[in-house]
Point group: C2
Chain length 325, copies 2
């Protein structure tokens, strides 16, 4: 049994917990939190411990699933914990991946551990699909679309606007552009690829026109998109918009043959009724692979591109070959 610890008990932490409990080859030995441990109530009787315990005394784990955020948690936590434990994270601040990789690699090599960063579905599974697409169809074009689904970052940005009591933002791919990318067209703008739908509960007395304008013109988040704002009641928000669905697809279209005359289309799609539950499930599978890499003597930092995918499965290699190949 692989002994797994979960660090951070938010939505993704609960997803990782559920996935570990579904895995017959894993046992959950601890949930580690920065909150007061009594305030955290995991499923079953998993011990809850302060995260500081991990570096002070060591813990009974083979691999840690780091379920904190990329903005402030993971840049410090992943390299620190990699000094002592095999770790898996979901670091997704794209521009900072090279720096994060280098720091985690140094820590893991010094500690004799293995780390897999930037798992989940994007980065993660979608990255693998982009790689397959470009490696097999080098003479081609492609794109990634997200949604329909809730963007946590955009929802949070709207909640910070004055007069907004609550908000939920849905990212929606534009079907016409999706079809054009399937046909091999490229060069689309942000506005052509996705629309944004925002559901807002106003604070008492707030001016809806001003709030709508503040949303639609928000730089980086909304100004490059066609955005629709809907004002709803707190009750409607609770009933209709409490789930966290997401998904998307990676498309690669390319030309093959001596005269580049043959079209090929590769497409990978996800439809998730819960984004954090699926992210946790991907993390658990990469936790198993991280343990497997370390058991084979590998140390240092890895990404999804470095992991033989057979290591994601609890099934032995000969059985995988006879059942899935």
């Amino acid at each position: 049994m692989i002994r797994v610890g979960i660090v951070g008990y938010g939505n993704v932490g609960r997803g990782a917990e559920a996935a570990v409990l579904q895995s017959k080859d894993m046992v959950l030995t601890g949930v580690f939190t920065r909150r007061s441990p009594e305030s955290v109530r995991p499923q079953g009787d998993t011990p809850v411990l302060p995260v500081s315990r991990l570096m002070e005394r060591g813990a009974d784990v083979d691999v840690l699933l780091l379920c904190g955020g990329s903005a402030t948690d993971l840049p410090a936590q992943t390299p620190e914990l990699a000094q002592r434990y095999c770790v898996v994270d979901t670091f997704d601040t794209h521009a900072r991946i090279p720096e994060h990789f280098a720091r985690v690699d140094a820590a893991a090599k010094a500690g004799g551990t293995a780390a897999i960063i930037s798992t989940g579905w994007d980065p993660g599974l979608f990255s693998l699909m982009r790689l397959l697409g470009t490696a097999i169809l080098p003479d081609g074009t492609g794109d990634t679309f997200w949604g329909p689904g809730v963007s946590q970052g955009h929802s949070d940005a709207v909640r910070r606007i004055e007069g907004v009591a609550d908000a939920r933002q849905y990212t929606i791919p534009v079907q016409k552009t999706v079809n054009a990318v399937r046909r091999g067209e490229s060069g689309f703008t942000a506005r052509q690829k996705h629309t944004r739908e925002v559901y807002v509960v106003l604070q008492e007395g707030a001016d809806p026109q001003r709030v709508a304008r503040d949303i639609i013109t928000m730089p980086n988040y909304f100004d490059e998109y066609d955005t629709t704002v809907h004002f709803i009641s707190a009750e409607e928000m609770a009933v209709e918009h409490s789930a966290m669905p997401h998904g998307g697809f990676v498309i690669r279209s390319g030309k093959l043959g001596p005269a580049h005359q043959y079209d090929s289309l590769m497409e990978f799609k996800l439809e998730l009724s819960s984004n954090p539950m699926f992210t946790g499930a991907v993390m658990a599978a990469f936790g198993r692979a991280c343990y497997g890499l370390h058991a084979r003597g590998k140390t240092g930092c890895f990404t999804v591109f470095d992991v033989p995918l057979g290591l994601l499965s609890p099934v032995p290699a000969d059985e995988i070959r006879s059942k899935l190949l």
Copy 2:
């Protein structure tokens, strides 16, 4: 530059050739054939040599792409050539994969080479998708559908029937069943999953009713399916049915969350206007990976499950991380 040799110059061999010529990090150093070398006309000025030359004298190659058939060519060729060369094949006789793996593994270990067997898209890419699906969504169901596309094996089977001058068989997924699998239903029969459409050119004087009956009742190939037979002219066959399109999709639907209450759907789709060209392109990418494994000191037999996918790309690891992760 990776020096690549192609063994067998049929449709897949031509696909592999086109893919190698599209690859900036590969050079095609030879086409090896059992036919008379003068009868083989590759693109450009690639030397054509008898396949026997490979074991007699050795050749100037880093990896061989073995483009023969699984019935008789590869069971002998892959282990023999693996004694001396890094090799990639598309062995697809499912029941014999364990035996083929063992023989190639012994030969490659003895020869200090690396071999990747059963590449292509199924087995190959579809196998990877089945693995991702079962590893990430263990509490789930899924299925693989093929087509719409031409099945070479079924077309050949019809051509062997008395009175048939030419034939082409299309495999077509049943949309209703595809949708049911997406919803998480399972347990479908062969007949529920695919239909078969056969286009036949009759020999002069042949009885169409007898030929149709012989097709529809053929054990293993057609008796478990709903099959439609169309009789057409040789001209219509040449104009409408000379392409070799294929494709299909791998679906995995599963439940996540503490009460298994969250649905997730993973789906991978291929639409190929030329099956052998795409198969050749996948082989070329795995040829690069085979070279990469060997360059890292690995010897023995591998499958798609053992290959870190980053090795499929000619792009260096740090650039893959910054561009595709």
